[in-house]
Amino acid sequence: MYERHEQLLSQCMEKIKKTKVLVAGLGGLGSTVLNLLARTGFEHLYAVDHKIVDEPDLNRQILYDHGDLGRRKVDAAVEKIKKINPQCSLTTFEKPLQEVDFPEIDIAVDCLDNFKSRFVLDAFCQRKQIPLVHGGVCEFRGQIATIIPGQTHSLRDLYHGVKEQTSFQVFPGAVVLIACLQVTEVVKLTCGSDHLNGKILQVNLKEYSMEIF
């Protein structure tokens, strides 16, 4: 199933297949990230989320549909990912992040919806020396950053003084775009290409702007 992109990633398709990626949060960002990772060829996926699919989720959480309402997100995700790529193994954890005893992973993707949980994931990645691809989104804006323990600031240090957001409005296209950028960073990390390495990439769909800070 990788015929249409394997030449683009020919140097590292085998690496992609073997890399173990954790997706933390199966909401808007996590839905698209997981979907794209499976289609790209990441065959060892892990996901953590303890919520159920709710109707307001369906505007942006593209892994789910009306038939999934009331189901655990992890269960719906396993079923959908299996249908998308039967080669892909998805191990799920239906617990709050801090309660999960994760196996060995290579890269973690932050698809969480609050900074408190992000800093728990950040601390885990620092302890395990695992790269973290952060993403956040709100309204028409979003940002990603790639944190490499020992090389860049931790997410907590980079975002010193950050506060939780109060707006929960989000443009569906912004969520999918930020998730696509996160997956691109995961591929770059896996393939050893240049990545953001501690910088923040901010995107604003209203202005069509994309800037690195």
Binding site: G28, R118, G136, H153, L158, V162
Partner: protein, 98 residues
């Protein structure tokens, strides 16, 4: 030095980036205020671990938390308030939804 504004900060100030000649934090924001004709301050509260951008605009006071980075380092964490002309100061508001 270049001062860049990201996220909704640029909506508050109406500007994307500015070049200033000052090197101390207070002078930088005095210079920014002159350039955009709005009084702008960056308040650093080390005890509360918060940075706030305070904008006085047409009799209204708008206050928003921000992340302030000098060459990618948080100035709230470092306590740095004097900067080199060849550096870059970034004031932004990361968003937190997922």
């Amino acid at each position: 030095m270049k001062v860049r504004f990201g996220g909704s900060v640029r909506n508050l100030l109406g500007v994307k980036e500015l070049v200033v000649t000052s090197t101390s934090l207070n002078d930088i924001f005095r210079e920014i205020s002159d350039k955009i004709s709005k009084e702008v301050q960056l308040e650093l509260d080390y005890e509360e671990e918060s940075a706030y951008l305070v904008v006085h605009d047409n009799g209204k006071v708008l206050k928003s938390w921000v992340v302030a980075l000098y060459n990618g380092d948080s100035i709230l964490a470092s306590g740095q308030t004097n900067f080199s002309q060849d550096g870059e100061l970034s004031i932004l508001i990361p968003v937190g939804g997922g």
